[in-house]
């Protein structure tokens, strides 16, 4: 009975309390549904029209109820772009600064967004036009600050449909400030030699680096990569590529911002190289030292022999497929061999005469590249015919038949000796550095002598020079 009494009391007590109190604690939360934030929203202004309202170096507070709309071409997924979106419509592109990270989660490249301009500011970063949430004066510069994270959804709206953007195929020299923040495609560009097989950016130090690209025309553009990029520690490739990237400017410097490594592709076709004929290059000589214009290129075969050394060590003679020849004097010792086919980049090179001999003067060796090898058949000509049409044969390879060598001052090749055939005589010049300069010349008539036509000395004497002793054939 006693036990029942206790039990009874407990039951009442528990019951009372249980009834009064609900001891459940809500801990499970339903996941919210997916929200489609896209809206039907039409622009009232093109991006080009907006940019045209801006004066470089100033800021503009945007107060009208205008809306621009563009497709995101550059997002922050790889880390190369940070707190920024580049958008582009059919008229141009603009950079939008937002003080938030990982924007690609909501606005990845390819999505179209509309921007309500009222309350925003437009400015530029050393010529690169930007939209942002506020401006700040810093010394002589005006900086545009990103739209604050808590506020950007008041201005940026995802459009109902995404308008695709095709990269603009263009060349480096054609790019101008109207193209900033647009997605461009440059074909047949390569990293310059010193920027091949190096990292895109300094990832350990988290520093941005510039790497230079050049195109077929020799125009150059900088690719700038951030030390925070996920591809920053990859190595730059060699060879020509087709590159899709976002075009930006920094002052007068043109820049490319890469989105990721898949934007570096194999090129379409090859560089179209327009070569000038050697004769045409010669024709550009005005009578005094001439600077050749950009884009001048010529190709020829080396007809002098650096082994025989019968030419000053910085010079070579080149003969083109038009039969004309010219001297190329490098700024350093020549490295090309007899028979090399060499292509010369002559933009900006000096065309001048030295003691009557026309030459390309002071050309850097980097401007010449060997393309292969070839042979030139020496033109058979008499001395008389040669002297009658000298300029046209200057620096070409000729063969004189039935000719004798003589000298009034010695028996060796060194210095000036005379070649005589049935039609006349011409000087033969051997430098003291030639391997054969100390050899005794044959006095008997020779069946054929091959040599390079030249001009030299204070008297600008016309002359022929053999390359080596095998040029003398009995």
């Amino acid at each position: 009975m006693k036990k029942l009494g206790i039990f009874f009391k407990l039951c009442i007590a528990f019951g009372l309390i249980g009834g009064l109190v609900n001891s459940c604690v809500k801990k499970d939360f339903d996941a919210p549904p997916f929200v489609d934030e896209r809206q039907d929203i039409n622009p009232t202004l093109t991006i080009r029209a907006l940019k045209s309202m801006h004066t470089i170096g100033t800021y503009k507070a945007l107060t009208s109820d205008d809306i621009i709309r563009g497709t995101v071409v550059g997002d922050d997924a790889s880390g190369n772009i940070f707190k920024t979106l580049h958008i582009q419509d059919e008229t141009g592109g603009i950079e939008v600064k937002i003080n938030a990270v990982s924007l690609f989660n909501f606005y990845p490249a390819g999505t179209t967004i509309a921007i309500k301009l009222k309350g925003l500011y437009m400015g530029d970063y050393n010529g690169q036009i930007q939209l942002g949430g506020s401006y700040e004066v810093s010394g002589t510069r005006i900086n545009i600050n990103g739209i604050e994270e808590a506020l950007y959804k008041n201005y940026i709206v995802r459009a109902k449909t995404d308008i695709p953007v095709t990269p603009l195929a263009i060349s480096i020299s054609q790019l101008n400030t109207g193209h900033t923040s647009m997605l461009v495609e440059l074909n047949n560009v390569n990293f310059i030699n010193s920027d091949v097989n190096v990292v895109f950016a300094d990832v350990p130090g988290k520093n941005s680096l510039n790497r230079t690209l050049e195109d077929c025309d020799g125009s150059q553009i900088v690719m700038r990569t951030s030390g925070y990029s996920s591809f920053g520690d990859a190595l730059t490739p060699a060879g020509k590529k087709k590159i899709v990237a976002i075009f930006t400017v920094f002052g007068t410097t043109k820049q490319l911002v890469l989105r990721d490594l898949t934007d570096i592709k194999a090129p379409d076709g090859q560089c179209v190289v327009t070569l000038d004929k050697v004769g045409d290059i010669r024709a550009l000589f005005s009578g005094s030292a001439t600077t050749l214009p950009a884009g001048k290129k010529m190709r020829g075969i080396v007809i002098t022999d650096k082994v025989g050394s019968n030419i000053t060590n910085k010079n070579i003679a080149i003969q083109g497929d038009d039969g004309k020849g010219i001297i190329v004097r490098f700024s350093a010792t020549n490295t090309f061999d007899l028979g090399d086919e060499v292509e010369f980049d002559l933009g900006g090179a000096e065309l001048s005469e030295f003691n009557g001999l026309l030459q390309i003067n002071n050309l850097p060796l980097s401007k010449a590249s060997k393309k292969g090898t070839g042979t030139i058949t020496p033109k058979e000509i008499t001395i008389g015919a040669l002297l009658a049409d000298f300029e046209n044969h200057e620096s070409t390879l000729v063969a004189i038949k039935n000719v004798t060598i003589s000298s009034t001052s010695g028996t060796t090749f060194n210095g000036t000796t005379k070649l005589t055939d049935a039609s006349g005589s011409i000087d033969h010049y051997t430098t003291s550095f030639a391997t054969f300069s100390g050899s005794t010349f044959p006095t008997a008539q020779q069946g054929k002598i091959v040599g390079v036509v030249g001009q030299g000395g204070s008297s600008q004497a016309k002359q022929i020079s053999i390359r080596n002793l095998s040029d003398i054939q009995p």
């Binding site: 206790i6 009391k9 407990l10 007590a13 528990f14 309390i17 109190v21 001891s23 459940c24 604690v25 809500k26 801990k27 939360f29 339903d30 996941a31 919210p32 997916f34 929200v35 934030e37 997924a77 003080n99 938030a100 990270v101 990982s102 690609f104 989660n105 909501f106 949430g133 506020s134 401006y135 700040e136 600050n145 604050e148 994270e149 808590a150 506020l151 990832v203 350990p204 988290k206 925070y228 990029s229 996920s230 591809f231 920053g232 520690d233 990859a234």
Partner: protein, 952 residues
């Protein structure tokens, strides 16, 4: 054994008795108006919490109305006593024994033989709780991991309600202000249950979560603090709490209680039944409780806990008792975190909690603490003789413990109060708009769960394959992870005490402890996505093209992780410890003294379970063992000036082993230890004067404690803000290693209780402490991916205050207990000298260097200089507490009502704060990574209704 003075008194008393007794006898013989009703009063004595019979004690019966001494007797060697020929009436029984605290209780004598039963008296020098009041519940003000990865677990009012006149009011009154005795950290305050040491060996904390909700059965406590000796262990530097949770020690009967409160939890329902020891020698006890709150005092903090306990004792005979006790408390809570002043201001809420956000109509908290680590203890008590006992026990603790948190991969930081989102960090043009937004829009101030889900929903559907399996779905940018630290602890000890002679007592023991904690991550929620790939995103940022470097488990690269899967780091910390201790106490009439010593062998190592890409050779497998021997020597003497006045002097000297968390630099990634781990040198002394009399209890203690050669390791994430000695900036996941940390804790404690009248008491407790660092630390920074740290630099830390709660506290109040079973307590409390924990890197030469100019630094006296190096002191505060209790007797049952209101004045003051570990070296703006604070609760209350059935 008896002092001369008492001999005189007793002689006088004897004389008085003779006269009185003669008179009474005469009166009775002559048939005076005094009634003829007399009887005996009998009972017996036992030493509390043991089976030891106290030595012969003096018992006095004092007339309750006249306050005059009427009868006197002594107890026998068996502890029994009898008063004969005692007139019916109301008396106060007082018991005096040199070795024990004075005991006093009312006795109502109305029958021929009044039996007072067995009286437990408390060994002096210790402070044993034998509460009958149901004082307030545990106030767990658990702080979660902050941005900087530090955790601060509040000690709590579990240790309150001691009868010691300093401990009791102090610990209770100052709980919410995080007062700690003598400012000492958790590892110096040991907590024992049935003799088993329960402090976590990995980080030193006592896991109060194990017995939250088990107050009823953990009521038997002995709390020893300071350097005083005890019979159960050598204790520790700060304090030792011994909880006796055995079935035979529980109060017999049923108890059902319901509590209503507005603290960490709102409701508590608890039921306990204890049978008491029956004739067959069995005792059993069960207890269970439920505590819950949909939302506690702080917004977004819920509480969902159960607790269970069962214990069976078998008393074979007077000598042997075996006890099996098992208990556990599964607790699930959403916690809050400290925040910067700016957020308190913008939200207008001192209890702003950055951890929750709105979801599904409720408040979803991202930081959940879920613990369930039950414990089983088997204990054997062997009373060899009345003079000797030996206890043996073995225990095992196991279970799970985890804290959740958000993690993100390539997405915006979800924390609403992250420094870069705050209006103060925005550029000036936007600050006004942002402030308005933060003030008016609650979502901006809290976690945006919707944004988190939408980000995951927006991910493209991809197919991912790691060569072993593949999955098609959305890869998570946000996920919720559970950071588990599951503990396992095996404990065994033998200890005992024997009274060698009347004066000499020897206590000794040996203890073995084997403990490990398994640390790993579990994916808790994918938040709308379908899978996660198991790689280290920070390592990936350092070397994006190196696919091996970012692996966290080289044996299972690029693991596909789904909800419930373990992933990330995986390692166990192991701690083994064996110690032997002995204590000899010698009691003389004039003084007691003791000398004690302990010697311990400690071993700790890391067991890595995954090989990772950053440190493939030193991440998997067992590390080297760090073995160290420690010792502890104590000595003390109590001068007994007379029965009421004592002077107590105690001293201690020893070493303590460094904790695992302060030895292993980055246990999540590798087994590297600090280069020269050392033992901590501890030394201290205290001098007390104690006065104990029936009306006045007074104690004043001066203490001086030193801790030397400590090391501390702290992990946190810092982007590019570490200013290295060579002026370069570095950053990432870092470990801050501090060594050579010395500190002094000194002060004066005061306790006073004055019995103004039988019903009214006045109490006062105060601590005037000063806890400071006395050395310049050496600091080194280790990046998470490098083995070598920076060159050590000096931290000018000398004389900075230790951040350890209020160093000066005073509480004063009144306690009124009325005759018809009700009481009222009123206390006024004052706390002061609360110092903010400082960031060591801000007190280095690098912190005050003028940027760009190596040779120049800011000068003392410069405003900016003081901004950087001064330590913030929090304002002092007053609070007032009021408690009321009443009980009603219904036949043999009781109904008790207790109501407590803390901080009636609703003074919401900052209880603690810390400087963030990140510092703006560039611009030296200390507000950029501003200090974080916690406020103490304002007015808070509890109401307890208890129904005691058959409690006799």
């Amino acid at each position: 054994m008896h002092q001369r003075t008492i001999n005189l008194t007793s002689l006088l008393m004897k004389f008085v008795y003779i006269v009185l007794g003669f008179s009474v006898h005469f009166l009775i013989l002559t048939g005076s108006i005094f009634g003829q009703n007399k009887g005996t009063i009998s009972g017996s004595l036992i030493q509390s919490n043991s089976d030891i019979v106290p030595s012969s004690s003096e018992l006095l019966l004092i007339n309750a109305n006249t306050k005059q001494l009427q009868y006197k007797t002594s107890s026998t060697e068996f502890g029994t006593f009898i008063f004969e020929n005692v007139e019916y009436g109301d008396y106060i029984l007082e018991i005096y024994n040199m070795a024990y605290n004075i005991y006093s209780q009312p006795v109502s004598h109305q029958s021929a033989n009044s039996e007072v039963g067995q009286i437990s008296i408390i060994k002096s020098g210790s402070n044993v709780i034998n509460e009958t009041n149901d004082l307030p519940t545990i106030n767990l003000n658990d702080q979660e991991l902050s941005d900087d990865g530090r955790s601060a677990q509040d000690v709590s009012g579990l240790l309150s309600a001691s009868r010691d006149i300093f401990v009791s009011p102090a610990s209770f009154a100052f709980t919410s202000s995080r007062f700690r005795f003598r400012g000492l950290p958790y590892e110096y305050n040991n907590v024992y249950v049935n003799g088993v040491l329960t402090n976590d060996l990995e980080d030193g904390t006592a896991n109060f979560s194990e017995w939250g909700g088990l107050n009823d059965v953990f009521r038997n406590r002995e709390f020893v603090y300071g350097l005083a000796p005890s019979s159960y262990s050598l204790g520790d530097f700060g304090s030792a709490t011994y909880l006796d949770a055995r079935a035979s020690k529980q109060r017999k009967g049923h108890r059902l209680s319901y509590s209503l409160a507005n603290r960490t939890y709102s409701h508590r329902l608890m039921y306990t039944y204890s049978s008491g020891l029956n004739e067959k020698g069995w005792a059993y006890s069960v207890s269970g409780s439920r505590r819950w709150a949909q939302e506690g005092y702080v917004a977004g903090s819920y509480y969902d806990a159960w607790a269970y306990y069962v214990s069976v004792d078998k008393r074979f005979n007077e000598k042997h008792t075996l006890s099996l006790t098992a208990f556990g408390a599964p607790i699930d809570r959403g916690v809050n975190s400290p925040a910067v002043k700016e957020m308190f201001e913008l939200s207008g809420d001192k209890y702003y909690n950055p951890n929750w956000g709105p979801q599904d109509g409720g408040k979803r908290n991202s930081r959940l603490n879920r613990v369930h680590q039950p414990m089983v203890i088997l204990k054997h008590n062997f009373t060899v003789s009345p003079k000797t006992w030996i206890n043996t026990a073995v225990s095992y603790q196991f279970g799970q413990s985890g804290r959740t948190g958000l993690d993100w991969i390539d997405a915006a930081d979800p924390r609403p109060d992250y420094y870069s989102k705050l209006p103060s960090n925005a550029n000036p043009a936007s600050q006004g708009i942002l402030r308005d937004l933060f003030q008016n829009n609650e979502q901006i101030r809290q976690i945006n769960w919707n944004n988190i889900y939408q980000t995951n929903y927006n991910q493209p559907v991809t197919t991912f394959s790691n060569g072993r399996e593949s999955i098609t779905g959305k890869k998570a940018q946000y996920l919720l992870q559970d950071r588990r630290a599951d503990g396992q602890d095996l404990n065994a000890y033998i200890n005992g005490e024997t009274r060698l002679t009347d004066r000499l007592t020897l206590a000794a023991g040996i203890q073995y402890r084997k403990s490990s904690t398994h640390n790993f991550l579990v994916l808790e929620d994918l938040l709308g996505a379908d899978y996660h790939v198991d790689i280290d995103k920070f390592a990936q940022n350092l070397a994006p093209s190196d696919l091996t470097y970012s692996q966290v488990d080289l044996d299972n690269p690029n693991g596909i992780v789904k909800v419930g899967d373990a992933y990330g780091y995986d390692y166990k910390s192991h701690q083994n410890n064996a110690e032997a201790w002995a204590q000899l106490s010698y009691q003389l009439p004039r003084f007691d003294m003791y000398v004690g010593g302990k010697y311990a062998i400690n071993s700790t190592y890391r067991e890595g379970l995954h090989a990772n890409g950053k440190f493939p050779t030193i991440s998997k497998g067992n590390s080297e063992k760090f073995n160290t021997n420690t010792y502890d020597a104590r000595v003390g003497i109590t001068f007994k000036i007379n029965g009421r006045n004592y002077i107590d002097v105690n001293g201690q000297y020893g070493t303590k082993a460094p904790l695992f968390k302060n030895i292993f630099i980055s246990p999540q990634t590798r087994s590297q230890m600090i280069s020269n781990p050392k033992n901590i040198d501890v030394a201290g002394g205290e001098v007390s004067y104690v006065l104990r009399s029936p009306l006045v209890k007074f104690k004043i203690t001066g203490y001086y404690l030193t801790l030397k050669n400590q090391t501390r390791l702290q992990n946190f994430y810092d982007e590019q803000d570490i200013f290295l000695a060579d002026d370069t900036l570095s950053g990432g996941f870092v470990t801050y290693f501090l060594s050579g940390i010395d500190q002094v804790h000194q002060g004066i404690e005061l306790g006073l209780e004055y019995k103004i009248s039988p019903t009214l008491k006045f109490n006062l407790a105060a601590n005037y402490g000063e806890y400071r660092y006395t050395s310049r630390f050496q600091a080194q920074i280790f990046e998470d991916n490098k083995l070598t740290g920076t060159t050590p630099e000096t931290v000018y830390s000398k004389n900075y205050y230790v951040a350890t709660g209020p160093q000066q506290v005073v509480t004063a109040g009144f306690n009124y207990s009325a005759k018809n079973f009700w009481f009222l307590n009123l206390n006024v409390n004052y706390v002061d000298q609360i110092w903010v924990d400082f960031n060591p890197s801000r007190r280095t030469a690098a912190a005050i260097k003028i940027t760009g100019n190596e040779l120049q630094k800011l000068e003392n006296g410069n405003g900016l200089y003081h901004n950087i190096i001064d330590q913030e002191k929090l304002p002092s505060a007053f609070t007032v507490d009021l408690f009321f209790g009443k009980s009603w007797k219904i036949n043999k049952d009781f109904i008790r009502l207790n109501i407590g209101v803390n901080n009636i004045l609703n003074n919401q003051f900052i209880s603690n704060g810390f400087e963030q570990l990140r510092y703006d070296f560039d611009e030296k703006n200390v507000q950029k990574f501003a200090n974080k604070y916690n406020y103490a609760y304002g007015l808070n209350y509890f109401v307890n209704i208890i129904y005691d059935i058959n409690s006799f």
